[in-house]
């Protein structure tokens, strides 16, 4: 089924047709199963609505994300952290020396100078409004990352300059620390005391936004900036 990963030869025609037929069959079967099973069962909106007042936020999605299923979000940030660590060396290997200056287009530079502060502002707003209306840590983080990308494209700013290490880890540490502290107080891990729930969620969201932005920028950075040719610094070439 899996061809040699990046060999350019397209799979023989016969196999392609067979594969296509199989997949179409599978899809139709799934569709039939869904159609036959009739309307979807009522989800958990009633339970969420009932528990929303105690969650400390109005936006149900944020409540679910950061209160009811906060464990999922914690693990999700861990996922980001994993990828960050996995792609870290490229970043450090490049280290301080700045590659030759990228030709700065005047038009883009001007636009960037105008846009970036605006984007950062909206990012901050999105973070804050998350508690009441659609928004939240991930969207804010992504937006800040977008701003970073713009800067990098504009050439004026090198992503390598970012202090990667503390930024990446801050989200994870804060979240776990709060969860543990709260667990000690209220007897259950990740169970915020109702009064302080709103504030705690905001603190966690802020930390999360920072580390998400940093991670996404890091990911883009190591792909965008040219890597010195030759084997990666630091990776010994054992015939593993």
């Amino acid at each position: 089924m899996f061809r040699e990963l990046n060999s350019n030869a397209a799979p023989p025609a016969g196999l392609r047709i067979v594969c296509a037929l199989a997949i179409v069959g599978l899809t139709l079967a799934l569709i039939a199963a869904v159609v036959v099973s009739g309307p979807a069962a009522p989800g958990l909106q009633a339970a969420v609505a009932a528990a929303l007042p105690h969650s400390g936020v109005e936006n149900p999605v944020t409540a679910v994300l950061l209160n009811f299923r906060s464990y999922d979000t914690l693990l999700e940030i861990a996922v980001l952290f994993v990828v960050a660590v996995a792609t870290l060396p490229l970043r450090r290997a490049v280290a301080p020396q700045r590659t030759e200056a990228v030709a700065v287009e005047p038009v883009l530079a001007a636009l960037v100078k105008l846009l970036v502060p605006l984007v950062v502002l909206t990012g901050g707003y999105l973070l804050w409004v998350g508690a009441y209306a659609p928004g939240g840590a991930f969207q804010a983080g992504a937006l800040l990352a977008g701003a970073g990308v713009l800067l990098s494209l504009a050439g004026g700013f090198s992503l390598a300059a970012l202090p990667a290490r503390p930024l990446l880890v801050v989200g994870l540490v804060v979240f776990t620390a709060v969860a543990a502290a709260v667990g000690a107080i209220t007897g259950a891990f990740l169970q915020y005391p109702v009064a302080a729930a709103g504030v705690l969620i905001l603190v966690i969201e802020a930390a999360a936004t920072v580390s998400i932005a940093a991670t996404l920028l890091l990911l883009y950075g190591n792909l965008a900036e040219p890597v010195p040719s030759g084997p990666l610094a630091g990776t010994k070439e054992p015939a593993s």
Binding site: L126, P134, G135, F138, Q139, A142, G146, Y220, L223, S229
Partner: protein, 94 residues
């Protein structure tokens, strides 16, 4: 056929067509551009379905960032030094 069904049909059809085009094309750059446009269309679909948070996230991460990453990666693959075989311009697949 109430007005909204037509919107849903067009959105659904658009998403499917874009997806199919993006994956079946042989030219990498075209595929990436089509994928980014698919991302935007999906953002609209989420909005249509009332999932605003998700729409914002999809726009920022799904379409924006993933597109940026893909383009950066594509540029890296195209300009890797010493790669004589690659012609400048489209990195189409023979």
């Amino acid at each position: 056929m109430p007005i909204d069904m037509t919107i849903d049909f067009t959105l659904g059809a658009g998403v499917l067509v874009l997806a199919w085009l993006s994956l079946s094309t042989t030219n990498l750059f075209k595929a990436i551009v089509l994928f980014i446009s698919l991302g935007l269309l999906v953002t609209i679909t989420w909005a249509r379905l009332g999932a605003v948070d998700v729409a914002i996230a999809e726009a920022a991460i799904g379409a924006g960032l993933t597109g940026a990453l893909l383009l950066a990666a594509w540029r890296r693959l195209r300009t890797v030094p010493g790669n004589t075989r690659r012609k400048a311009g489209d990195n189409h697949v023979s």
